[in-house]
């Protein structure tokens, strides 16, 4: 008799009757706990041999789930790779049930999964070109839709959702006031301090007041406020609308006959363009008081002279110019926030992307429009 190898453990016995004919007897319970172990043990025993047939005896298996079926399947694959014959004997009824449930007999498992083929670079290029055109088209059509909705709301003020608008005014304005105030105050402080280092050399301390007020009111106040609002509210708009979009709430609104732009975008935009200029005014005030602190406590200026200098420097035009800019910034932030929300498609991650992109786009637009304003003004 030829050498007959014997390998065994608690869960299996491998025996080789004749050369290349292996019998595996499985025992007990084959499930998540031991399937990985079994696979590790059985694979070398099968792979090492020149195999002509393999029989698996399930007679002593009292429980087998799909993890067990996986063991059988992987074994079957190994045998098939060596062109051997594979068979299972003594299958109990409940195990038959499982095997048919996972469609064990089908050869499908041996076919590789339809691999997702990476499209070549031309396809990529084309796709992103199409996507970008779509984006631009949506960009423009959304702008149009917002303008039309505004006209509609002006003609039919009753269609404006007043309650929503007030809620958003509170969220965008009142709730942002502390942080805007703090940032502006510190900014005024820093500006006054830095400029005083230079101006002191010429004994021109009093011009600190002019510098702080002019810089804040016409440039930094509107920009700082807009950036804070973009970070707080622009992202929130995009996330809110984006979540509504992916959970089909916007489709529900649409089918109820609502104009989604009037329903969702217009209240947010109106709230923004009302409160952001007011926030900007506060920002100017706090920055000036920051400057005042430095002026009074470090530069020995009197409160009255500081305020007088400020009043002299600031013209009404300057203040209105700053507020006009913040009005435009507000419209941009709210518009881009809503736009990104409406553009959301897919799952939770796309909502995150929408919020991020809302902030990035609004900051870009803020700076871009600020430059445009600067150019305009120089040709005034």
């Amino acid at each position: 008799m030829t050498k007959s190898k014997q390998l065994s453990s608690r869960f299996y016995e491998i025996s080789e009757k004749e050369k290349g004919q292996i019998l595996i007897l499985l025992k007990g319970k084959i499930d998540i706990k031991n399937s990985a172990y079994l696979l590790k043990e059985l694979t070398p025993a099968i792979k090492g041999n020149a195999l002509s047939s393999l029989v698996i005896d399930l007679g002593k298996v009292d429980y087998l789930d799909d993890f067990g079926a996986l063991v059988l399947l992987e074994t079957k694959r190994l045998v098939a790779e060596q062109k051997g014959k594979f068979s299972i004997v003594n299958v109990k009824d409940n195990i038959k049930g499982i095997l048919s449930l996972v469609n064990f007999e089908s050869n499908e498992y041996f076919m590789p999964l339809k691999k997702y083929t990476r499209p070549n670079i031309l396809v990529h290029l084309g796709e992103s070109a199409i996507q970008n055109t779509d984006n631009i088209r949506f960009f423009i059509s959304f702008l149009g839709s917002v303008i039309l909705s505004f006209i509609h709301v002006c003609l039919h003020p009753k269609d404006l959702r007043i309650d929503d608008t007030i809620t958003y005014m509170k969220k965008t304005g009142v709730d942002a006031l502390p942080i805007v105030a703090l940032i502006s105050f510190l900014l005024g402080l820093v500006m006054a301090f830095t400029s005083s280092l230079q101006l002191q050399q010429f004994g021109a301390n009093i011009y600190v007041a002019s510098l702080v007020s002019i810089a804040m009111v016409s440039e930094l106040g509107p920009i700082m406020t807009a950036i804070v609002v973009a970070g707080r509210s622009g992202s929130a708009f995009a996330a809110e609308i984006g979540t509504m979009k992916i959970s089909e709430e916007i489709d529900a609104l649409f089918t109820m006959g609502f104009n989604t732009t009037i329903f969702l975008a217009v209240p947010r935009i109106i709230a923004c363009i009302i409160v952001v200029p007011i926030l900007t005014l506060f920002s100017d005030l706090f920055a000036i008081s920051g400057g005042l602190m430095v002026g009074v406590f470090m530069l020995d200026l009197s409160t009255t002279s500081y305020i007088n200098q400020t009043m002299e420097t600031l013209t009404l035009f300057e203040v209105m110019w700053g507020l006009g800019k913040s009005f435009v910034f507000a419209a941009l932030i709210a518009w881009i926030g809503c736009l990104r929300g409406f553009q959301t498609r897919g799952g939770a991650d796309s909502v995150g992307n929408a919020a991020t992109s809302a902030v990035v786009s609004s900051i870009f637009l803020i700076i871009l429009f600020d430059s445009i304003f600067a150019v305009l003004r120089s040709y005034w």
Partner: protein, 252 residues
Amino acid sequence: MKKQAIIKVKNLTAQYGDDVILDNISFDVFEGEILVVLGSSGCGKSTLLRHMIGLDKPFLGNIIIDGENITSSDGLYYNVLKKIGVLFQSSALFGSMTLSENIALPIKEYSDLSKSSIINLVRMKLCMVNLQGYEDYLPSKISGGMKKRAGLARALALNPKILFLDEPTAGLDPVSSAEIDELILLINKSIGTTMVIVTHALDSILNVAQRIIMLDKTTKSIIAEGDPRYLKDHSKNVSVRQFFNRKAKIRI
């Protein structure tokens, strides 16, 4: 032979804020059985399920799963979590992962199988719920019914001892619902999984349930318990018979 209770709900009172949803209810779920929880919508079925899983803490009472009291341990019941699988009412598939990644996630975490074995196992699981070929789809690209089935496959990923299903057949066509019912029965028979199912579908209750408990919105408690095929005609409670025989409530 009396089977052993695997889940014990003892004097459970569930509240959201001051709203009492379930008032002092007690029942057992026995090992290997299929228990269906039913009742009109809004009566607290999902709430009951969330409490049994430990997602919400009871206001009063205890829930004991496989000998472990999940209400006393402060969220530290990982041992219990390994024994249960849940299909949520809204499927709760992870939107940024494909179906196979969704199912492979717990398998990768809790088993030592090799990558290629896991791929095959996932294919088997998807095959079980009749979704072969959809391995690389994102949840947003498949229909609601398919999401339900994929969610079921994910709940089954580790072949848990107990499976909680919240409305597994809601939103499915009759053929798919029947297939899900059959699948539930097959899994229960061949793997011996204990199932707690919330459903409204009458035919699937009569097909699948070995025992039901029926919740009631007004009394906030269990108004019927037992074999649905018997209760259908013999329950003393009118509203139970109405439910099973599809009668509208008579308005006075």
